[in-house]
């Protein structure tokens, strides 16, 4: 265990060195952060300029949901996103054959592909999302209790586990169809999580809770933070997350067998 922690520290160090080599990117990333924030906030603000509540969600509650959406995005961008994305796409490891070297390393492949790249500027996004959450809580006039925080963290853990499992499933898909734009598919689907799943019609809501579990990714943590979330929902989410994790790991192992290198 200590060995893996040391390795992760090493991964963080090398990623930091690689990132700081491209300083001009920093300004662009900063701009992107600002744009994501503006788009997220504007969507909710414009909606609530026309209505008082939507499906029982008030403005501060919807703001908290935006905060969770940004938080989940930032957490993904810090590590698992960049790590898994380097597998797929044109110029990715599987396409170019550099995956040979990843396979040869004396480490569990799943550990290596999941944690090797860190994008530290995403910590700025993380901070910003926490500010949004703080503002939302202040406007709700709700004090954050210790049990409340614990429930939120559990919901967030479930959410991130699901995000990881879904990303791993998509990343494994690269071994079956090399051109799959992995990040694009995930970004498209997660957009649904900008708003509470309750606003979608029944059939879509079921789909978004159990099949593409966007509901567990953003709605449930936001509910945990702003009000009540039934224990049964959390249990269901935990079971779903565990199931997806096992499935994704198994699918990765299956997919790895298909890898036949590239060029010579």
């Amino acid at each position: 265990m200590g060995y893996y922690v040391r390795l992760i520290r090493l991964f963080i160090q090398t990623s930091f060195q690689r990132e700081t080599a491209f300083r001009a990117n920093f300004a662009i990333n900063l701009l992107n952060t600002a744009l994501t924030l503006i788009a997220g906030l504007a969507g909710v603000t414009i909606l609530f300029s026309q209505v008082e509540t939507i499906q029982g969600w008030t403005f501060p509650q919807a703001l908290a949901l935006v905060g969770v959406y940004l938080l989940v995005g930032a957490l993904r961008d810090v590590c698992i996103g960049p790590s898994l994305e380097s597998l797929g796409g044109l110029g990715g490891e599987v396409f170019g054959g550099a995956f040979d070297f990843t396979l040869l390393k004396p480490l569990p492949t799943q550990f290596l592909v999941s944690f090797r790249s860190w994008r530290l500027w995403a910590l700025g996004d993380l901070l910003l999302s926490l500010v949004v959450l703080g503002v939302a809580l202040a406007r709700l006039g709700q004090a954050l209790t210790l049990p409340g925080l614990a429930v939120f963290l559990v919901a967030l853990l479930i959410s991130m586990t699901i995000v990881y499992a879904v990303l791993l499933l998509l990343a494994s898909g690269v071994f079956w169809y090399r051109g799959v734009p992995l990040a694009w598919i995930f970004d498209s689907l997660i957009q649904m999580g900008r708003y509470p799943v309750g606003i979608y019609p029944g059939w879509l809501r079921l789909l978004l809770t159990w099949v593409v579990p966007v509901g567990f990714i953003t709605t449930v943590p936001a509910q945990a933070l702003t009000g009540q979330v039934p224990a049964l929902t959390l249990l269901g989410g935990a079971a779903l997350a565990a199931g997806l994790l096992v499935l994704a790991s198994a699918f990765l192992r299956l997919s790895l067998r298909r890898y036949s290198s590239a060029s010579s």
């Binding site: 992107n32 026309q50 499906q55 799959v180 708003y195 019609p201």
Partner: protein, 268 residues
């Protein structure tokens, strides 16, 4: 005259080249198209839910469904993929090959766009048709509205493409145009009629949206089709649209003449 004809033939050859290459990877392009329609779908559901609690800004449920189904198609039809590819190609140096062809490089960009649209549109049309059957939009057809829609749609296509192309050409100076293009996309999202029909934007934003070019790239044609504009609003809208298109074309001439002298090939 002969030159013109040759250019058209050359342009069509470029379209066919891109089209065949894209058709081979149509799964990829359909995935892209799916991503492009996801945003409008989310906002369709948001606003129809809002409308079920009471009409929002004069839009009823069926109006929102129609608006956003049209938006998926208009957005797909006017979406300039070349704004990303041109910037990238300048950065990695592939632009040199474009310059060597006996056609202006803008033909390559147009060909990429036409081919992408030809690959993606059937997919988007099929999805929208299914959604239309399930969600039942309110639609009243009238010839004048349809004609105004087609005219505004073509102008929107030209305007959105030209502005994106000009922004991508900024890469001739700075190697990267991604930041500018990202900014452009955010403005389109906020003021083009995607996050909400521009008529529903609160106070100041509504005023800004009427003046800036973004509404005339996506939202304006749909408003015409739905017959939501008075005659005066229509005339003013077309005036803004044509004015912005002229401005964008002039800007293109200026940026192109200056930029091409700055181009330094990268890579080998």
């Amino acid at each position: 005259m002969t030159l013109q004809r040759m250019n058209l033939r050359g342009g069509w050859a470029l379209v066919r080249k891109s089209l065949f290459r894209y058709m081979a990877g149509r799964g990829f392009f359909w995935t892209l198209a799916l991503g492009w329609m996801m945003g409008p779908l989310v906002y369709m559901f948001v606003w129809t839910t809002a409308a079920r609690q009471g009409a929002a800004g004069g839009f009823a449920r069926g109006d929102f469904v129609l608006y956003y189904l049209c938006l998926i198609l208009v957005n797909q039809f006017t979406y300039p993929v070349s704004n990303w590819t041109v910037g990238d190609i300048i950065r990695v140096g592939g632009f040199s090959a474009w310059l060597l062809r006996p056609l202006p490089p803008i033909y390559e960009a147009i060909a990429t766009d036409v081919a992408t649209k030809m690959v993606c549109m059937p997919f988007s049309l099929a999805v929208v048709a299914v959604l239309g059957l399930v969600l039942r939009p309110t639609f009243v057809f009238s010839w004048p509205a349809a004609l105004a829609f087609v005219l505004a749609l073509l102008l929107a296509l030209a305007l959105r493409f030209t502005l994106a192309y000009v922004l991508a050409l900024v890469a001739l100076w700075s190697q990267r145009a991604d930041a500018l293009l990202g900014l452009n996309d955010t403005f389109l999202f906020l003021l083009g009629g995607q996050v909400a029909p521009t008529a529903l934007l609160p106070g100041v934003l509504h005023g800004i949206a009427t003046v800036l070019p973004y509404r005339y790239m996506i939202g304006f044609p749909i408003e015409l089709l739905m017959g939501r504009l008075s005659r005066a609003e229509m005339v003013v809208g077309f005036a803004w649209q044509v004015g912005w298109l002229a401005a964008a074309v002039l800007l293109h001439q200026f940026v192109w003449r200056r930029g091409i002298r700055r181009y330094v090939a990268v890579g080998g």
